[in-house]
Each structure stands twice: as structure tokens, then as C-alpha cells.
Amino acid sequence: MTTRLHSHERDQDFSDVDRAALLHALAGILPAAALLADHEDLKPYECDGLSAYRRLPLAVALPENEAQVVAVLKACHRLGAPVVPRGAGTGLSGGALPNEHGVVLSLAKMKHILKLDAAARTAVVQPGVRNLAITEAAAPHGLYYAPDPSSQIACTIGGNIAENSGGVHCLKYGLTVHNVLRVRGVTIDGEVVEFGNHALDAPGYDLLALMIGSEGLLAVVTEVTVKLVPKPEVARVIMASFDDVTKAGAAVAEIIAAGIIPAGLEMMDKPATAAVEPFVKAGYDLNAEAILLAESDGTPEEVEEEVAAMRAVLEKSGATDIRVSTSEAERLRFWAGRKAAFPAVGRISADYYCMDGTIPRKRLAEMLTAIAQMEKKYGLRCANVFHAGDGNLHPLIMYDANVPGELERTEAFGAEILKLSVDLGGTITGEHGVGFEKIGSMCVQFNSEELAAFHRVKAAFDPLGLLNPDKAVPTLHRCAEFGRMHVHSGELKFPELERF
């Protein structure tokens, strides 16, 4: 697909960046193999996991150490060139979409685990270390890194910091922000800063929390200290079928009302299980309108107690079928279907678009009913997978980019889901980030004063706006344009701005 970006979508104009001077400067910093500037070499970097949006950068820098990161940032700062940090490029919001007048700063070569301290239960790693690689390195010590986004086999810890990634176990074990002690980073002017430390508290403002989830707009991560936790002795998962999504949603609330925080609590609707089952053969009940996966982990006694308690709640909530994994192999098979939901939908549809709103759990049925109506309205199918424990919903809208108009209808469908997420008391993004993709929907969730506050936070770190420009926080100008089409709750959100 060709680039579909229009000049009016651009906030800052970097067209006067001196390409020759920039390439010359970078060549003086990086070894030849660590600097890409030819068209065919740049091509793999034109998009991230959200391939609907593509742009070629001027160059890709692949520093091998922090000193090179510092030098690259100083050069870009001096030349006024934008910098887009990139991990594994698995992000789903276009956060690593290049700027055509700037540099993609890939941290892929900084992929070493520097220290694993089993006694302290910490690991010091470079940003390009894969999420799963940390858990693999910790496994011999009976420890693991808790956040487990579906892409954990490929995604890097640096990217996880940028997005505050979650996973299927974050209801009990938390998000990235709950599992990181320290981030070392470099600001755009080349200053190395330590956020947090190896203790549980650090003096001053909690800039560590501010860094996590900042989508590469505040500083470039060069080193991370993560917490490791003891691996539970056993884990078992319950798979429950429901003939009605409302009942499944109510069952989730009942489990929590019973004082149980499951290690994982996931829901899939019928279109999602139908897409997954032929692909993964997880043994899902294809007659069910929705299935719930509820995991318990801990000591054998603890798990037995909790599984029995959850089973009782699920039966009372009207589950039509209940199965409990009897072996580790079976547990992994139950989960395999859930973890493969995105690729499975990719198999039955030419393209799909994954949304990421979070809603209060009790509004789930409303949301799913509304999505069913939107499917008719936009003439597109949608499968739903749901981190039911924390309210994070991933509708997967299926479309074909080669059919004229389908992408536009898909985008409108997605924007309507996000607006409804906000209206139901939730948020436009639970874990994938705003990136380039949801920048318009930010205008629905925040008013102009809040957006201005975000811009001031950005300026505190990067006054020239060179780090990952046009991402995460929309300009007020952009919101005025967005608001022209989307009036919020019957009133204009930006009454002070001129409409175009």
C-alpha cells in the first residue's frame, strides 16, 4: 500500500533537515554496518506492527553502545533532525513509524543481559533484549519476568518501557511500570539520566513512572533493571463456556466479588474462537457464544483451593461447560489459542485492525452489542478478544486493504469503538499506546488544557520536539480538525479554536 499521509496531518515541518550533513555526522559516529541509508536497506524500517502506515526515514542508526546513542542524539539535536526510537518493531500503534526527514534509532544491537542477580531478584539488561529472553535467562534460578505481552517472543524490553506493556497475567502481576526498578536513558541533548535505582524508592519525582509508557518521546532507553519474581510452583487454567456474552461478563465480576484475583482472566467471543480453533486446535467449544479462560497459580494447595472456588462461581454464573487443565501441556494448549488470536484472524482475513480500548468490565455487554451494530453499519466483521480481568478489549476488525474504501471504513469503525470506550468510562488504549494511529482519538479523551499539559511535560525533556514527533499527543490544531468531524457529547471540545 502506498503512503496515505497528507501534509495537513503533519505537525512539525522538518523538510529543511540537511540530509548530507546528517549522514556525514552519523558516518563519523557509527561503524559502516551500523548506518543504513540506501533505499532497500531502509525498506524493512518503513513501518512497525501496524503496517497500514508506512514511511521511509532518511537513515537508520543501529548504535552498539550507549556512547554511540549519545553521539547520534547530539548530532540530531545539533542538526534539528527528528529521531524515532525503535525496538523490535512489533508495536501496534505506529509508534515507530519513521519521519521521512529523520533518523530511526534502532536499539536492536544493544541486546545483552548485563547482569542477572538471583539473590536480589533483578536483571540489568540492554534495551534490545527480548522480553522472553529475560524469563529464559532467569528460569534456571526459579525466577521469571512477569509481564508477558503476546509478542513476548520478539518484542524488546526497551519497547515494553515505551508502551508500558501488559500481557495476560497483569491483573495479578502488574504492567511494565510495576516490574521495573530503574531505567537509564539519554535525553535528546545527549544527557545520560538515571530514572529510579536498585532500591524500591528513589528521591524526587517519580520520573521512572513518567518514562514508562512515554512512547519514546522523552528519552531513549539504554539500560533497564527489571524485577524478577519466583515462578509459581504450579498453574492450572479453567476453560468455561457460556451461551451468552453478558453471562460471561457477569461471571468475571462474580469471580472478583468472591475475593479472587486470578493469575489470568481472558474472554474470547464466538468469531474469535472460530478463527483460532482450526489454526491451533486448542479444544475450544465452538458452540459457545463466549469462552472464559481463568488461571490460578501458586502452591499446589493454593491452586486446588482457588480452582474449586472459581469453578463454583462459574457454575453459579451459568457456564454451560467447564474444563480444568490436567497437565502443563493442556494448560499451554488452552492458552495457545488465546495467544494466537491475532495471527489466526490474519489467516481468515486479508488484513485486520486491532483496537485496544479499556472499559469498566461491567460495560462489556454494552460494548459488544454496540460493536455488533457497527459491524452492520460498516459492513465489516469483527472478532473480540478481551483481557476480561482488567477490562482491556481487543476488537479485531477484518478488512481487505485492496478493496477501495475498506481501510477508511475500518478506521471509522475503530474510531467509533474508541470513542465509545471513553464514553463508557474507559480509555482509548490499554496497552498498545497511542502512537501515530490513535492520535485523533486522544482529542476525544483529553481536553485542550490537558493536551497542553502533556506538551509542557514533553518540552521539559525535549523543548525542540525532536524525539518521536507527531506521536502520542496531538497538537491542538490537529484536534480542531478532528473535532470538525467528531463532536463530543453534543458539545465541541475545543470551543476556543477556529474550525476549518
Binding site: 524500591l200 524508592d201 472478583i256 475475593g259 502452591t299 493454593e302 509542557r456 521539559a460
Partner: protein
């Protein structure tokens, strides 16, 4: 109330934002007219099955905890209550967590959203009532522990959790270095240890979780003795005799840091990661000891003159101080909120 708050802020004079005043001694000495938040109070929303509570800043912690207890839930980070009137706004502004912090997480971990009024009298909302929310910078968690220097917190939403089904307290006699070794070794195992305290040759452990898990851990650890449940609330609210002192240091260090050879008396929490110290040794020596093991030392309670001289909080590196000043200017450009309370520079 919000309009009254805004009017006070518009006057542009330094303000001392204050709830019940139970932490007036915390941080550095500072100036400003008192802005009392207590008239802006009440639980706005509490939904047990959604696992959150939203309350106005002046709401007493006790009121919130009573409401949660009625549904079998709690604030797992156990903020200290220095007075029965301590407010939720003050707790979030101070950002202090209690005995369960090492296992359950800190106050900021449980902050889901805030409403603040900034230094230009703008009412701003960040975060929300859902657990996963990455839209915009995480300003809610930045506000937690910022000592009111970035804005007046008017409302907060906190994540809540069910109370543990079962609890037990165990007590062992051992010296400090033995306790540190044990705590770190146990920390590597999937044991339901939720809090610990070592002082005067005695290690007290709190177990919590499923009934079966607590029972089997008791067997495994071998009970040496027990203590009343009130021990933990006295520790949380710092009512133990240890805390009755004029000068108290709070050292936040890696749990595996060896015994710190500093003269004076220590009480150790958080599996070794929090070391309280009563000592008259030079402040520079204490700060250096904490820094040398990768942590930091806070002058928690002290006579005003000492705090003024050495500062309550460990000094920041130059790049961090620059970012702090920039952020302060971003939220409070006139410098009216609690000036100097965190650092003399802002």
C-alpha cells in the same frame, strides 16, 4: 469548593496545601498560607467488582478503608496513618507506603487517576478508573509522591484488592545479617511472605494469602513464635516505640545490601530494602553509606535546623534536577505550591 481553591491559586501567593496536617513534619520546612483541603471530601465512586475507589482529596483514609473493609477489600500498599484524620490527598501527595510494600507494591502502583488544579488554576484530569490505561503520559503516577509541589490534588482513583483470606505472624530470634540472608533467600521462593520487620534481634514475618498457602508456609518456615496483629498496624502507623525519636533516617537500599555498619539503632522492613536508622552520626556519612550500596537516605524526622542544613531528601544529580525544575515550571510556573518542601531549588 473547586472554585474557592481556584480563586486561592489565582491570587498567586505561596500556598501550603494541607489535609489533616498529620505530615506537616515531613519533607523540608516551607512557607505559604494554609490551603485546607478537608472541606472537599467524600467517596465519589466505589465499585468492588471493578476494583477501584474514587475519592475527593479531603476524604479521611479511615473512611475509605472502612468502606473497603465492608466489601472485604483493602488498600494493599498500607499508607501510614499518622492521625485518624489523615486524608487520601495527603497520602497520595506524600506517596508513602507501608509494611506490605515489597510484596504488594507501592502507593504509586495503585494510583489509577488524579484530578488536579495546576498553578494556573486549570483543572486537569489524568488517568481514569481502569487498570490499564496508556493514553498520554502517566501524570497520575508523577503526581503521587510529588508532595503537592506540582498541583493541588482534588480527587484520586486508587486500585483496590480483596483482603487476604488468611494471615499469620511468625517470629524468629536472629541477628541482623542472618535476617537479611534469610529474607533474601525466602524472597526467591514462591512463599506468601507479605511483610517483614527486624529489630533488636527479632525478625517478625507476616504471611498472607490462601488458607492452604499460609498453612504450608508456616510448616515450611517453622514457627518460632507469634505476635499480635496489632504489631503490623503499629508498624504501619509508626506507633512502635522505635519510632518515638527526634531524628530518624529512612534508607531505601537494595534488599541484598549487607548490614550497614552505622552506629545507632536500626529497624528493617521490606525484606531488607527499607532500613530505618536512629543515629547521630554525620548526615554525610549516612547518605554516603546508602549511596555506596545503590540506594538513598532520607532525613525523615529531624529538628528543623538539621533538615534545613542537609535537606530532607537525598540530592539529585544535575540532569535530574534540571528535569525536576522544568516539570515544576510546566505545572506551577509561579512556584506557589509548597515551595521548597521537596527541594530548596523549587
Amino acid at each position: 469548593m473547586i472554585e474557592i481553591f481556584k480563586e486561592r491559586i489565582r491570587q498567586g501567593k505561596p500556598l501550603h496545601i494541607r489535609g489533616a496536617g498529620s505530615k506537616d513534619w515531613y519533607g523540608n520546612a516551607f512557607n505559604g498560607d494554609v490551603l485546607d483541603t478537608r472541606s472537599h471530601a467524600g467517596i465519589v465512586a466505589y465499585e468492588p467488582t471493578e476494583l477501584f475507589v474514587t475519592a475527593k482529596c479531603g476524604t479521611p483514609l479511615a473512611e475509605i478503608e472502612a468502606a473497603l473493609a465492608a466489601s472485604g477489600q483493602c488498600l494493599p500498599f498500607e499508607p501510614p496513618r499518622f492521625s485518624p484524620d489523615s486524608t487520601v490527598g495527603g497520602a497520595v501527595a506524600a506517596g508513602l507506603s507501608g509494611p506490605r510494600r515489597a510484596s504488594a507494591g507501592s502507593l504509586r502502583d495503585y494510583v489509577l487517576g488524579v484530578k488536579i488544579i495546576d498553578g494556573e488554576a486549570r483543572e486537569l484530569t489524568f488517568g481514569g478508573q481502569v487498570m490499564k490505561n496508556v493514553a498520554g503520559y502517566d501524570v497520575s503516577r508523577l503526581i503521587a509522591g510529588s508532595l503537592g509541589t506540582l498541583g493541588l490534588i482534588t480527587e484520586v482513583t486508587l486500585k483496590v484488592l480483596p483482603k487476604p483470606v488468611a494471615e499469620a505472624t511468625l517470629r524468629f530470634e536472629m541477628n541482623q545479617s542472618e535476617a537479611l540472608d534469610k529474607l533474601n533467600a525466602w524472597g526467591r521462593q514462591p512463599l506468601p511472605i507479605v511483610a517483614s520487620a527486624w529489630a533488636e534481634g527479632v525478625l517478625t514475618l507476616r504471611l498472607a494469602g490462601a488458607r492452604a498457602a499460609v498453612e504450608s508456609a508456616k510448616q515450611k518456615l517453622g514457627a518460632g513464635g507469634t505476635a499480635p496483629d496489632s504489631f503490623w498496624s503499629d508498624l504501619r502507623d509508626q506507633r512502635l516505640p522505635f519510632f518515638a525519636t527526634e531524628t530518624l533516617w529512612r534508607l531505601s537500599v537494595p534488599s541484598v545490601a549487607p548490614q550497614l555498619e552505622l552506629p545507632g539503632e536500626q529497624l528493617i522492613e521490606w525484606g531488607g530494602a527499607l532500613r530505618w536508622l536512629k543515629s547521630d552520626v554525620l548526615p554525610e556519612t549516612i547518605r554516603a553509606a546508602a549511596t555506596s550500596v545503590g540506594g538513598s537516605a532520607m532525613l525523615y524526622r529531624a529538628p528543623a535546623a538539621l533538615k534545613t542544613r542537609v535537606g530532607a531528601f537525598a540530592p539529585l544529580s544535575a540532569p535530574l534536577l534540571k528535569l525536576h525544575r522544568n516539570l515544576k515550571a510546566a505545572f506551577d510556573p509561579k512556584g506557589i505550591f509548597n515551595p521548597g518542601r521537596m527541594y530548596k531549588e523549587f
